[in-house]
Subunit: 182 residues, 2 copies
DNA sequence: AGCATGCCTGACCGATCGGTCAGGTGCTGA
DNA sequence: TCAGCACCTGACCGATCGGTCAGGCATGCT
């Protein structure tokens, strides 16, 4: 199919985002993506070195923001401040990158095992510590993980409701659920 | 391999549970399971009609308890009672069937789409309504989903810590996180 | 005109998947 | 002794996966 302007690269990216978000990374084949774009599978692999490269490019913006959040948390001196920054920051991130979170549905833990994503795992560990407030208390860490995972899943589920309906509700539940830092 | 007592059926079941829990349903091949048991893939399919049949048998006890919980919630007259029963009941269920939850990691939403699991989807909808207390309030539903998904993921993650450390912490976070029914 | 380059494709590759099948083996009861 | 049955297996099947490759087809520069 001859195209006036070769915008195929971007088309593949958005088609992949849509498909990954609804069927998951493993559950989506390059054939699926190619079919949705209206090109051949070979074309997808002409524009992207591999399926994983496609995922990486798709996740890049979200990861960049996550790294930024990690840095902002590290700046805080008091535990209570770190907890607040982590909570609000993660809610913002999750709401904003709902689609990216949805495409990792369930495969998140598995993908984190791969060597390429080690630093993401470290960041999420620090995020849980910050949310827990007192990481030495197991119950605080448990509450933090419930909040973290719950927000992620909820954002992936409520993918269509407006941001300003989702965000306040999430901020409220975060504030209630976490153990306060005394 | 000749076996004195053919306990292969049970061995396959436990091996499958272990593998599914660590690699996920889709991420585990019949070959993997056969390898762990020390038999051939054909033997696995001799004992179980299909891979899906294996999953179904593995999930049966957890599903039975879930159905029971659903019935107990329906018995409650007051919203506050339904909320309490749902919260405590789901925590108990999640802690008890951590392994089963872990093996659905991320594929839960996807598996629920299949016609065979429609009633499970209906039950989880009612569970969210009960947890929300006032299902008409979007913020209450959001809080309920955060709690539900967060607990599930947390139980799958903390698969090795003792029950009586996990359960109280979860019950506490549930009580804090949900919107009270006034 | 001729050549290089960007974009795209069909055909093909090896690997792996879930599942089938004919047949082998060893125990058991008649 | 032998038929029958439960248990198990290797070989094989079609489908699908991610990925490779040689070549076709425009377009634009020299």
């Amino acid at each position: 199919m001859a195209r006036a302007v070769p915008e195929t690269h971007a088309e593949i990216l958005t088609a992949a985002a849509r498909r990954f978000a609804s069927t998951g990374y493993k559950g989506t084949s390059l054939q699926d993506i190619a079919g949705e774009v209206g090109c051949s599978k070979a074309t997808v692999l002409y524009h992207f070195a591999s399926k994983e490269a496609l995922l990486t490019e798709l996740m890049a913006p979200a990861i960049a923001v996550l790294v930024g959040l990690d840095a902002r948390i590290a700046e805080q001196q008091r535990g209570a401040d770190a907890q607040r920054v982590a909570g609000e920051g993660f809610v913002d991130l999750a709401v904003r990158f709902r689609r990216e979170i949805a495409l990792l549905r369930g495969e998140f833990t598995e993908l984190l095992q791969q060597p390429a994503f080690v630093h993401i795992r470290q960041i999420s560990d620090r995020l849980i510590d910050a949310l827990a407030g007192r990481p030495d208390r197991p119950s605080a860490r448990i509450a933090a993980l419930v909040v973290l995972a719950g927000i992620a899943e909820t954002c992936a589920e409520f993918i269509d409701i407006p941001d300003d309906e989702l965000r306040p509700a999430l901020l409220a539940v975060v504030q209630r659920a976490l153990e306060p830092v005394t």
